[in-house]
């Protein structure tokens, strides 16, 4: 069966994550690294929050991290109808580079545990009248290979 042309994906707000051409490819976060002290940040910034040096360089962060904490929100996810959702996960994920990322989680309430490995993905929130898919980053548990 021939695949239909994938719809163009646009970010909910520019400047936070990559949108790979290939929908199956893993996205990354748009971050900064301080040229003076080496600290990493998300999102991008000019002045280092740690040593105050100016001129952080652009880097890509992720896509993997560790779940530091999580919760399950008992209301429909942004843009979804009550019937379509029993709630959604929210978590904070520590990246190996340092930053702690607060984001929506992909999965069911029983899927999460503090300390588990997580991976970034993009979720479609809605479609624009022009037919573009509006996406946001979220983390999902890494499937155990063992």
């Amino acid at each position: 069966m021939a695949e239909s042309t994938p719809r163009r994906r646009v970010p909910i707000e520019p400047g936070f994550f990559t949108i790979p051409e290939d929908p199956k490819a893993v996205p990354q976060l748009l971050g900064s690294r301080c040229r003076a002290c080496g600290e990493h940040f998300f999102p991008r910034r000019v002045v280092c929050a740690r040593c105050l040096a100016q001129g952080c360089e652009d880097i890509l962060l992720g896509p993997r991290g560790t779940l530091w904490t999580w919760t399950w929100v008992h209301v429909p996810f942004f843009g979804q109808k009550q019937a379509a959702s029993a709630g959604y996960g929210v978590g904070q994920v520590d990246l190996p580079e340092g930053p702690r990322i607060q984001a929506v989680l992909s999965g069911a309430q029983g899927d999460f545990a503090i300390g588990m490995p997580m991976q970034l993905e993009l979720e479609t929130l809605r479609e624009t009248p022009e037919g573009e898919q509006v996406v946001i980053h979220r983390f999902k548990p890494v499937e155990s290979s063992a």
Partner: protein, 385 residues
Amino acid sequence: MKLDNVAVLGVGQVRFGVHKAKTGIELARDAGLLALADAGIDLGSVNEAFVGYIEPAAMLAIKAMKELGLTGLPVTHVENASATGLVAFREAAHAVASGRAQVALALGFDKMSEMARGGQSGRGIGRDTIDSVILPAAYFALWAMRRMHERGTKPEHFAKIAAKSWNHGALCPVADRQADHRVTPEEVLASRKIAEPLTAMMACPPDDGAACVILAVPELVRKLRPGRPLVRVLSSALQTETWTPGHTFVGPVVGPATMSRDTANEAYRDAGLGPADVSLALCHDAFANEELEYYELLGFCAEGEAEKLVEEEQTSLGGRIPFNTDGGLIARGHPGGPTGLAQIHEIVVQLRGEAGRRQVENARVGLAHLVGGGSVCTVSLLARD
């Protein structure tokens, strides 16, 4: 800085709740008139005003002040999210301490019931932004879940704190929620779930209200209100976050725990007091798990001992250090702008010995603490002579 020449001249608070029939400005006028009456003055005696609200609109402070009179006094708008009212109070205290004003007024008002419906209250609600997808309840829940993981805290601890606050609120005439029965932890736990492990009864209501505090040099307070216990403002600290590893920049966040500890330490140092001197404390308990954390961060117990404080009911009326004696954000309410001034109102009523059935025995020192937007913290200390 230590404040050694600032006393409370008057306080006033409109009962928090849903006020459909009045605008925010009308609520502000009513609170202002209550405080002026308590002070025994009119606006002609006020040298400067600091007015706060978090509704995203310009010039409302000036409009509210015009309802009290047109005297030409300087008016400054103050906004620091949930901490707004307490920061307006801080500015008024420093205006008197600096000698620039003999009498300074702090006023706060908001109609959160309308902001919550309208979805126009800024980033985080109803807008197409990276951080609009996460509800405020979620970030306090993230903190609660981590606490449970690290310390073995149970939802029952949070429920017990919330029940305590509901029961304090029932004793406070200006509290929003005045339960007609004794609220139990079981009832709190059984209420609607919001975000694990938090339930609806562990959360503050989106309500409306206004509160006002008038400060003056002590000589004037003694002259205008002889025979009334003199309540002084000892210190008022304000800090923002310092960089710590794991800082989360995007999304509504709680901020580092160090912020409340550092701000409280500054307030204690400036006042020349410590936690052991404090008779009652009011803190930012938008969700019950916050209050548990602040027992430690404000210095009322050692790290890891907050659960014990709850189990022993040390923070209830009659306990070692009663918290949120007017019900706190959970029961007294949390309209936004006036919240911090309601805290000061409660502390002043307690220190004057006018708190009736919720009176803290021999109340001498009161502490008020608020955080705003997870990014600022302010702590004030007041004492009766």
